[in-house]
Symmetry: C2
Subunit: 234 residues, 2 copies
DNA sequence: ACCTGAACACCGTTCAAGT
DNA sequence: ACCTGAACACCGTTCAAGT
């Protein structure tokens, strides 16, 4: 047990010089510490100790803890924007598949970003949203070239985004709860269809194979709908 | 400002009689209080004051706050299980559409359940999962009768569940952040496709119309995939 | 067996003060 | 202008005690 007084009076802690602290440093320290101990465990005293400064010094750069979290959220959103750019080659189907596979993988590898962007976190803000536009526009262009209207193309992106968000949130919850993803769900024999279907699937997460298959199924459905519309109104 | 001492020493507060407190009462009080002030603001002292008992009395019935939250989560999961039952009549498409429309509406009307089941919350536990099985089995049966394999049918349900979860989480986040859902997203003119598509859509939530259209699009894609497979392997 | 307050180690934030 | 500790109202939890 380390009390707050002990933290502040740690040997080797001297008063920080004027100008020796910056908002960027605090933010970087908060990010590193949150990645280490988890967003829930991040506290102002812990952060101050991590940075070797007084607790209240943080308040000169961030109005309160919410403002600090908001800044972390914007940072997380920004770090994901390069992932939105669709591949230069291939069909619109492949492009969507790759983009959303990449996004899920990145999210799964970054619990902090997950928590900030999807779980408890604040919004990233309009400015962070702007980072996503170039990639989204390029993705839309692909689909419009294939025959979708802009509204249909955006609907496709929205569906895949929301599906992916659902995946990411479910997986994050399971990880947080410490549930092993590959343990099969036991189903009583009263439910023959469920039993049959769950033999090679489970409810505690989405395996890479299942995610890939589901993405492909959704995208194939979009392609078939486009074909059907083209056939109806040639 | 009401201090903890003042809470405990409120006039009219007498020592509760033996057997006058029950786990059910505490749970009901916690649920009501959390619905009123929000899950984040729920604290043991606040709950005790709400129930008119001493703070530490809660600990006789629940090992700690996590256990209390877990019980709330199971309760929330259980209250949703009647919503899973598919309608008795109509196509499998209509049945899926109605079920997931109903679920989203119920979730949007219940912030507490949202927070417990999807956001920060713990898992509901395997026993709560069992409540979903009868409805899921009935839904699977519909689709299998239409020609899907059990695995395909479960994939369909999974896709819609994850899509819906994504919707619900996004909407909860916007509500929490106090963002008005119908304010259109401003897009600079550099992105003509996005601008065109966002004229009748927005990024701050999913309108009822958009949700309905997206559900229908996903389900129609499933139907077309089934047709295509039947045509290929008659 | 059941209910309790005192006590403890935390937390976020304000404020008056140092440099 | 920037950095600080003391102080305050919280929080979750333990513990020894009441009934």
């Amino acid at each position: 047990m380390v009390t707050r007084q002990q933290l502040a009076q740690r040997p080797g802690r001297t008063r920080a010089e004027r100008g020796s602290i910056s908002a960027e440093q605090i933010l970087a320290g908060a990010k590193a510490l949150a990645q280490e101990i988890g967003l829930d465990a991040l506290s102002m005293p812990r952060l101050a100790a991590h940075l070797g400064i007084g607790v209240t010094s943080i308040y000169w750069y961030f109005r309160n803890k919410d403002a600090l979290i908001a800044a972390l959220t914007v940072d997380a959103a920004r770090s994901f924007h390069p992932l939105i750019v669709p591949a230069a080659e291939g069909t619109w189907q492949d492009s969507l598949f790759e983009t959303f596979t990449r996004l899920r993988e990145a999210m799964r590898a970054d619990d902090l970003a997950c928590d900030l962007l999807f779980m408890r976190g604040a919004r990233a803000g309009e400015d962070a949203l702007a980072y996503f536009w170039p990639g989204a526009e390029a993705g839309l262009a692909r689909m419009v070239a294939a025959g979708f209207t802009p509204a249909e193309a955006l609907q496709n992106i929205t569906i895949l985004s929301l599906y992916n968000r659902g995946c990411v949130v479910l997986e994050r919850q399971m990880r947080r709860a410490g549930v092993a993803p590959d343990v099969p769900t036991p189903v009583p024999a009263d439910y023959p269809l469920l039993s049959a279907a769950l033999e090679h699937q489970n409810t505690r997460g989405v395996s890479d194979e299942a995610h890939a298959a589901q993405l492909r199924a959704i995208i194939e459905g979009m392609a078939l709908r486009l074909d059907a519309r083209k056939a109806a109104h040639p």
